[in-house]
Amino acid sequence: MTLTIIEPKPVSFVALVVAAAGAFAGLLVGTAHDTPFMGVLLGAAVAAVLAVVWLTVFRNERTARWLTFVAFGAVGFFYVGLMGGVIGLAFGAFFGWFIFWLGEGRYRAKLPPYTTAYQVFLHFLFRVTCGAIFIFLITPILVVMPLSFNAENFFTFTPEMLRLDPEGYSLKHYRDFFSNSDWQQAMRNSLSIAPMATLLSVGFGTLAAIGLSSEHVPFRRAIMAILISPMIVPLIISAAGMYFFYSRLGLQGTYWGVVLAHAALGIPFVIITVTATLVGFDRSLTRAAANMGANPLTTFFRVQMPLILPGVISGGLFAFITSFDEVVVVLFVGSAGQKTLPWQMFIGLREQISPTILAVATILVAISIALLTTVELLRRRSERLRGMSPG
């Protein structure tokens, strides 16, 4: 890779590409002012001129990029207002970077030196496509976050919000979440049901996974199929079945009913993650421990457990999230006393549409990010312990 020579590219090429990008940006701005055609022309012209000037006359990258950034922002703010300013800054940052990234030939830095222009193009086309898919993946979350600060009571972007007018934003839905006893109760219920369900599925699941990983298990496939089935059976069928059956046992509408149901749903995740960790587990370690006189219990807690712990924890997190995010089964198996957060949200969506749901969602996303980071850190630690990863 170090063989790749980074060299400035011809200005004509850069200007052309930048002009095309400028035309596109111009189209966006132009349509907003009902003159798309003018927008395209102006955008292309401004971008091309900028590229030529920065690359031939000015050539001080740092200053040039700052200048572009500030100038675009100022123009946007002057003509449209706050929102325009923000969009202008974004455009400025992009064009400043884009011109020099192309002009200096930095875009080839990570590609093998023999790649043809066509291959370079394909490479970046692929990257842009992937970027678009990633955007598709997280857009809903990006939409939810600003809407949760909506000052209105409907799921709509108001004109005030689009103008970035502080009037259009408020924390009232967050206040509602923290002051409304229904939401608080739901939160408490979720927090008392999910850990218990997680505990059950992790406890049983880890034991079973260890059992399943030994070499001589009769009916291994069949047992595995049964244990994974809660993930596979359509939720509505599980929910209906549990509803009737738990009713008969007197478990419907009780705390333990919901806990058992959620524990059953979480088990496949624990089984899958823990058996996956055990696949990489070096059996000679337990033999060595036994050889040195440790009894099976000591071996388990001192040798096996620390090594599979990351798998157990990430399985537990999946089980926790399953319970924490589960609506269908709790709707059937639970009753008022077990109203969990997702249930409360479901009611919210059906009975009184309120952006409080979005505020809750934003809080949950924040928690999710924290949990995901934990899992990622644990994974790295696990790999370090097993010596599988360089860092």
């Binding site: 189209l27 992937c130 898919i133 990633f134 993946l137 997280i138 809903p140 979350i141 939409v143 939810v144 809407l147 799921f155 709509t156 049983f204 034991l207 079973a208 059992g211 030994s214 001589h216 298990v217 009769p218 047992i223 595995m224 049964i226 244990l227 089935s229 809660p230 596979i232 059976v233 359509p234 939720l235 509505i236 209906a240 079945g241 549990m242 509803y243 009737f244 059956f245 738990y246 008969r248 058992l260 524990a263 059953a264 995740f269 058996t275 990430s314 995010d325 609506v327 269908v328 997702p342 949200m345 969506l349 749901i357 969602a361 990010i369 995901l372 899992v375 990622e376 790295r380 860092g391």
Partner: protein, 555 residues
């Protein structure tokens, strides 16, 4: 293993043959493994598998008819359901006792609703009959009580039915009535009721004793009252009138109430017979409708294929299985649609997941871990929130349409309809299920060694050839694993189609939920669920064959 030699057993350190010692060790290992698995297996069997089996059983179970109308159903066996004549008077008489007890226990409307799924109008026929059944035989009861008003006296009845102290009891009748009520009410009718009919009176007045015992059991256990303090039901008196009119010989009887019985038999002689058939038809004309009787007869057996037939748009008729009328067919369409949409969703997931999984598998570890968070984040965000976010984006005044209109790509009047239809469901569900496609693909792709493609390149293959002939075939297992997983999950989806599906984007699951919570046709819901489950299990089996269940990976 080389434990078999022809020269005699190889011995282990402790002197036992190695073969046996190994076998024992193996057995111990197996047992230990099973002991570790057992708690979870039992847990899953009890909390998960048993409930599902229990629910699926409802799809064929049909005991409600024979439990509620045991006597009438028994007499219907002799009735030729295809002829034009209504069932005979004995059926109507049996129906009277069944209906009376069912109405007391308030079970008659349930059997009505059950049969109404098959034939409209039966529901109200049973409801009206429950209200009117105590009018049947009214005149004769009045006549009986005119003869002597002890017939309205609870103590007199109780004494007559119990017989003198120490007399032989007809315990068979008592337990038969307990069982009948237990079947009817689905609860246990055990426990002391403070009454048992005497054998003597049971031999003399069989109908009356049966009816009175039913009354006594019900009064003591269901109403929690004292039998001797409650006046018997009209049905008991009707039974007495029938017994007396059947020409029994009272001369040998000298137990309690002998005098009154003789007196009543004489007094009733000139009364007209109770016309049960007319009585029911007076309550509602529907009892004269042959179709209703055919339906009752057809659905009398304790197990039925009716729900399954309904679930495939068929119905049971006296002429055999036939398709339902065109304007009532719905499940075939829904199953086909569920299949089609799940395929579409799987397809779009493959298209979107492939490049992402490729990118993740070929980036340096640190970068790909970061990008992986972007994949997992939606996976861990509440399903409801993601679905409602799609609603906000896709609706006609939503984010995407607003943007398109703003860009001038779409006219304000021509905003795209992207929600409450199949498109909306496919987009939202593709998004929701995408991680389930990316993760298996990623885990397969990250094991593909990069040097094959490099070798192909250096041998002169083009970009496309090296990908299509070398890389792609190695990634196919990932596509297979992801596709089956996504398809299985998609086919049973419920919440998302419910919120964004409108009418054309709903799945069979939505119909199942509707039958469970709104129409209360639980048998049909179970039948639809069984079919859906069968489809999923076949796929599950295929998944196991192709990929192996142990090879499912989550990040």
């Amino acid at each position: 293993m080389s434990d078999t030699t022809d020269t005699g057993p190889v011995l282990a350190a402790d002197g036992t043959p190695l073969k046996r010692s190994l076998r024992r060790a193996l057995r111990a290992q197996k047992l230990r493994a099973l002991a570790l698995i057992a708690p979870l297996l039992i847990f899953v069997l009890v909390t998960f598998i048993a409930p599902i089996a229990d629910m699926l059983f409802r799809s064929v179970e049909n005991q409600i008819v024979s439990n509620t109308l045991p006597n009438a159903v028994a007499t219907l066996n002799d009735w030729d359901g295809t002829s034009d004549g209504l069932p005979g008077e004995d059926t109507f008489e049996a129906l009277y006792y069944d209906m009376f007890l069912a109405a007391e226990a308030k079970r008659h409307t349930r059997v009505g609703s059950r049969l109404n799924y098959e034939e409209s109008g039966i529901s109200s026929m049973f409801r009206k009959s429950g209200r009117g059944v105590d009018d049947i035989g009214e005149d004769q009861i009045d006549a009986l009580e005119d003869i002597n008003d002890v017939w309205g006296d609870e103590t007199f009845w109780f004494t007559m039915m119990s017989g003198p102290d120490g007399v032989a009891k007809a315990n068979g009748i008592l337990s038969a009535q307990r069982e009948r009520l237990a079947n009817l009410d689905q609860s246990s009718f055990a426990g002391e009721i403070g009454f048992a009919p005497s054998q003597q009176i049971a031999d003399l007045l069989p109908r009356t004793v049966r009816a009175y015992t039913a009354f006594a059991v019900f009064t003591a256990i269901e109403d929690e009252d004292i039998v001797a303090e409650e006046e018997p039901w009209e049905a008991v008196k009707v039974a007495l009138i029938e017994d007396l009119r059947s020409g029994i010989d009272l001369s040998g009887y000298d137990g309690p109430g002998a005098q009154e019985l003789r007196e009543a038999q004489q007094g009733l002689a000139n009364q007209p017979a109770i016309d049960y058939k007319q009585g029911f038809i007076d309550i509602t004309e529907d009892w004269a409708n042959l179709d209703n009787w055919k339906t009752i007869k057809m659905y009398a057996p304790p197990f039925t294929t009716g729900y399954f037939l309904n679930a495939v748009d068929m119905q049971k008729t006296p002429e055999g299985f036939q398709p339902r009328p065109e304007n009532e067919q719905i499940y075939g369409i829904l199953f086909k649609r569920t299949l089609f949409m799940s395929l579409m969703i799987t397809g779009s997931c493959i298209l979107l997941a492939y490049p992402v999984a490729y990118l993740l598998a070929n980036l340096p570890m640190r970068t790909s871990s970061l990008l992986m968070i972007l994949v997992l984040l939606p996976f861990w965000t509440s399903l409801l929130v993601r679905t409602s976010a799609w609603k906000v984006m896709l609706q006609q005044q939503g984010v995407i349409n607003d943007t398109l209109v703003w860009l001038g790509l779409v006219a304000d009047e021509g905003r795209l309809v992207m929600i409450n239809n199949q498109f909306g469901t496919i987009v939202a569900m593709t998004h929701i299920l995408l991680p389930f496609m990316i993760l298996p693909m990623y885990s397969v792709m990250s094991t593909i060694p990069p040097y094959y493609v490099r070798a192909a390149r250096s041998l002169g293959a083009t970009n496309w050839t090296s990908f299509w002939r070398v890389y792609f075939p190695q990634s196919v297992p990932g596509i297979g694993a992801g596709s089956i997983l996504v398809f299985i999950l998609a086919i049973g989806y419920y919440i998302t189609p419910e919120i964004v599906g409108g009418t054309s984007g709903t799945f069979i699951s939505n119909r199942i939920a509707y039958h469970i919570s709104t129409s209360l046709n639980w048998g049909l819901a179970a039948a639809l669920g069984s079919i859906l489950l069968a489809a999923v299990l076949i796929l599950y089996w295929a998944y196991d064959k192709i990929v192996g269940i142990d090879n499912v990976k989550l990040g």
